[in-house]
Every structure is written in structure tokens, then in C-alpha cells.
Symmetry: D2
Subunit: 177 residues, 4 copies
């Protein structure tokens, strides 16, 4: 018997924003991975895009749908260049094999997106640089979450040590009195 997939829920605002790889984007884009569907090869994420940030050239190997919840996003060159300029709240369907030479954010923006299949980041001439699908997305997010947990633990330990070894300020003040 093959088991059914499992429902899951993510409190989006409780998840931390993590840096999206600088090799795939510029301007400080951050992300939260919300779900992966390995059987289909689908994944879902939300992105925080500062003013002036952009995603590098890529192809959507399968279809993708986005909901722009904040700001403005220029897709496939934006409306001025034959593409779409999305303004919050905007919805877009990008077909299989859509090539996005530059996805640019002229103002601070946020969008949620469902991907079927991977993104293939490419050179100008179409040569593949990197493939980012559900597996790579989950591996990256998982590593980022572990790192963050370690950092949080270390901070907590340092805070404890600091408390123990710090001079008795209040007592000192009292002594002076």
C-alpha cells in the first residue's frame, strides 16, 4: 500500500526569512519554503524582494502561478517590453518553459508562488547553470533551518554564560550606597 500525502500547515509569519542564493538573485532577495510535493515535483515558496532586487535569468521547466501580495514585479521584461508588470494584488500564470531573462522589483515586494517542476537558471545563451527543484529547495531550506537552530542555541548558551559570569551589578550599587 502506498500512503496518501499528508496535510500540513505553516504559520508563514512565524517562519524566518532566509537569504535566497546570491548566485541566483541580486539585491538581497529572501525566501521561506512552504511546501514540497516530491511525487509531482512541485514546491511552494514566498519571496521578500527589496527595492531594486531581481532574479537571475531562468526557465520555468513546468508551469508556475504567483500571487503578488505587495509591491510590483516586472516579469519577462515587464509590460513595456512584451511581458507583464504585476502590481499588488496581482495574479500571474507562467506557462511551461517560460523564460524569464530578468524578474525585477522596482519597489519592495513580496510574492507567493507555486512551481510544478524546477527552475533552470541559465546563461545568456541558454546554457544551464543550476537547477532548483523541490529537492534542491528542500535541501537548502533544511540546511538554513539547522544553521539557524544552531545559532539560536549558541546565542542562548552565551547569554546564560554572560549572566553567570557578569559582576553583581545591583549588589555593587547597593554596596556603594
Amino acid at each position: 500500500m502506498i500512503e496518501n500525502a499528508t496535510a500540513n500547515y505553516v504559520q508563514v509569519n512565524d517562519q524566518p526569512w532566509m537569504p535566497f542564493p546570491a548566485t541566483l538573485s541580486t539585491g538581497g532577495i529572501r525566501w521561506k519554503l512552504l511546501h514540497v510535493s516530491p511525487e509531482m515535483g512541485a514546491w511552494t515558496a514566498i519571496f521578500d524582494c527589496p527595492k531594486g532586487s531581481s532574479f537571475n535569468r531562468h526557465i520555468h521547466v513546468g508551469p508556475g502561478e504567483y500571487l503578488l501580495t505587495r509591491g510590483r514585479m516586472e516579469v519577462r521584461g515587464g509590460t513595456d517590453d512584451g511581458g507583464s508588470t504585476a502590481t499588488s494584488m496581482g495574479y500571474g500564470y507562467e506557462a511551461c518553459n517560460a523564460r524569464h531573462d530578468k524578474t525585477y522589483f522596482p519597489v519592495a515586494s513580496e510574492f507567493y508562488m507555486n512551481f510544478l517542476g524546477p527552475l533552470q537558471f541559465i546563461e545568456d545563451d541558454g546554457q544551464p547553470i543550476a537547477v532548483v527543484g523541490w529537492a534542491q529547495a528542500q535541501a537548502l531550506w533544511s540546511a538554513q533551518m539547522s544553521e539557524q537552530a544552531k545559532t539560536a542555541k549558541k546565542s542562548a548558551r552565551l547569554a546564560k554564560v554572560a549572566k553567570v559570569t557578569s559582576p553583581p551589578k545591583v549588589a555593587g550599587k547597593k554596596a556603594r550606597a
Copy 2:
């Protein structure tokens, strides 16, 4: 040659809210259909759910993913009853065949959802009442849009007639002066 699917963009806030059928929901839920993908049988919509509204009992024939952008949504009975209580901004993945006996909105809410396959609205004992998939969704939305266009045209015509036949108020006022 079979043609590729076409990209499309919807300015969500420019679309009107339309009533979601009262046979499938209570409390005045409204919706906007954003996309249909007939080949896969997928569709995407956004729902406006007043405080106290709910969707009738249904099964997700395929998987579904939602982003709760405003308010609170109790899925599969909510957290207190073994389900999920989503609070904005919340993301949920509902697996294939998920049965939702009642999806309830304790406060005014809004959510965006991608459906693969139809919703099957059912009786308490599982007997099917109605199937709402991409085709039914598109047919309903299309009818609602035509109706609205006709109403808008009629309103415009009535406004014009009113203007032509209305007494020359300003002139009258002037005459009195």
C-alpha cells in the same frame, strides 16, 4: 503541433467579487476566478469570506494549497478538533481526497487557493451533490462576468437617458437668480 499554454495576468483588485453559490456555502462567501488549466484539471481562485461564513461539506478530489491572506480559517474542524486553524498569514497543503466537513471563518477572511482536480460537495453520508472543477468554475465565472457586463451597460444607458431627460436644473436656478 500542440500549442503551449499561454501566460496570463489578472489584476486581482480590478476584478469584481461575485457571489459563490449559496448551495455550496453559507454566509455570503464571494469569489474571483483567476485561472483554469484544463489539461491538468487545475484552477485557482480567491475567496472573500465574511465573519461566520462557511463552505459546505466537500472532498478535495486532488490536492489543494491555500494562502490565507486575511483573517482566520478553521479547516477539518480546526485545531481543536484534529484539523488546522489557519491564521493570516497562513499556508496549508490539503492532500488528495481530504474531506472538509465544514470550513468555517470566525472572522472576516480572505484566502487564495490552487486546486488540482475538482471539489466534490457531498451529503453527510458521502453521497455526491455537486462537482466543481475547472470547467464548472469557468462556466460560472463566465456567466457572472456576462451578467455584470450587461448590468453595467444597462446602467450606463439609463444614466445617459437620465441626463438627457432631466430638467435643466442649473439653467433653472440661473433663471431664478
Copy 3:
């Protein structure tokens, strides 16, 4: 971490043919379930259809693809009636929501089919009778396999008992000699 789906292999000719429910077909159709993909709601099976057999009226809730490996199959009324008449080796793509009022086999036939989403068996007027998706298919096949295993075990036990209690034939023959 959500695990990837698992590869699997089925030696088709080693699997037994099991009766396909008589409520959904006539003429002795048999089947072998080969795979289910719960996350997508997909499933794959092969059917053995005696001369004169047919499937009852149904709708393909999602797209389906078949390979007719033996015989002849009349889909959507067959070629004479606006549908397709497939002759081995024939391939067919049936779109989402395709309604098959009668799928008929004028000669002994066999076909392999991939389904995305369930089949919805319906009355003449479209009223739903039964939904057969990956979950129902897996439940049925699983029950049929258990039943068969029990029967095989019982047969083996009876055979053993028979062997133990049967008179020593050879010895008897020898005694005569």
C-alpha cells in the same frame, strides 16, 4: 523533510487477473492495478476485456492515456459515432472531463491506462453512481490480493492434508507386483 516517492517494478504477467467490479462493467472485464500516485491522485492499470464486454458510462475527471496492446476498443461511440475506434496497437489521449457513455470491446482486447484523477461512473442523466480513484483502486486491489493469498494458503493446506491422509498408492502397486 518530505521523502521522495519510491521507484517500483511490477512483473505484469506474474500478477493475477482480478474481476473488475460488475457494477462498473459487463462481460467479465478483469484488471491488474500496477501503481498509485496518491499525491497527484494518479493510478495505472491494465485491463483484460473479453469479446463483447464493456465499461459502464463514466467521466474521466482528469486526463487519461491508453495503449491498446491487443484487440479493438470503441471509445465515445467509436469512429462511426464521432468517437475513436482503437485497433491494436493504438494510443489514445482522453482529455479531462471526457464522457464515455460506453467503452465497448467487439473482440477480446487488452489495454494499459494511466489515469490522472478518478473515474466518475454516472447515470444516463449524469448523476454520479461511484467514484473510482487511486484510493478506491488500491483498496479494491489490496482486498483482492488478500483474498487470493488466503485462498492459496487454504489450497496449500488442503493439498498437504490430502497427501498425508491418502493411501500409499505406489507402495500398494509395488505390493501387487
Copy 4:
């Protein structure tokens, strides 16, 4: 309104076998493209694989299902090497991201396969060489069909010319008589 996908039927044995690119396979593999589903990024084909032929190293970017209708196929190294050795009639499900370093046919074989998403042919170290999805498959098949139609037309014309210009053999024979 977005139109539904269209049903289609292919008489498999009436289609010609075409060479599968020698850059992606060795030993004279031939194929017939049966269907493409651009919206999902799916495609379906049947392959004729001579004894000793093989496919080059590739990754299935999405899941794939095959039916081996003739012969034997060693997938992921075959059973001896942790993979599967399929023997006709065999069915296999290959999960998303399955890496096939060598798919080898020890005897003349034929298999039918459904692909969701592209195949990514790769170097030993994983570097991508070529992506073959529905679009590339359709482009290749379409070019092969045009080429074949031109060749057939040319042959027909040459045959006609040959007929017209050839010496009146029978008459000659008669003359001799």
C-alpha cells in the same frame, strides 16, 4: 475562456520509427512520439531498442512510468546493481529526479513511456548536456515527419520520372519476338 485539451488517437503501427538522437543514445534506438501535454509538461513515446543499445546518462526531472512490451531493460544498473531489470511484460514507476546512468537493452526490446517533465541528459559529474521535454520532443518529431514527407514525395516523383523515361521493355521484348 480557456479551451479544454483535445482528445487524440494515434495508430501506433502506422507511424514510422524514427532515429532517436545518437547524442542521447547508442546502438540504433528508434522512437515514435505519441503525445505532448504542454500545459503539464508531459509527453508520451514508444521506443524500439535493438539488442545492445542503451540510453545515455540522464535524470528524470519528473516521474515516469513505462510498460515494457517486448524484450528486457536494465534500469539503474539492473537488478544485479541495485536497480530494476524489467522483462516483458513489465511495468515500472520511476520517481522524480531518478538518475539513470545507463538504461541498457541486452535483447531487442520495445517500451512505451509517459514522462511528466523533461529528461535531463548529463555528464558523469552531473553537468547538464541537454534537456529533452515535450517541446524538444515535439520539435524533433515534427522535423522528422516533415523530412520523411519530403523524402516520400521525392521518391514518388522519381518513380514517376523513371516510369516515363524508362525504355518500353515489354514493347522491346515484343519487338524482338
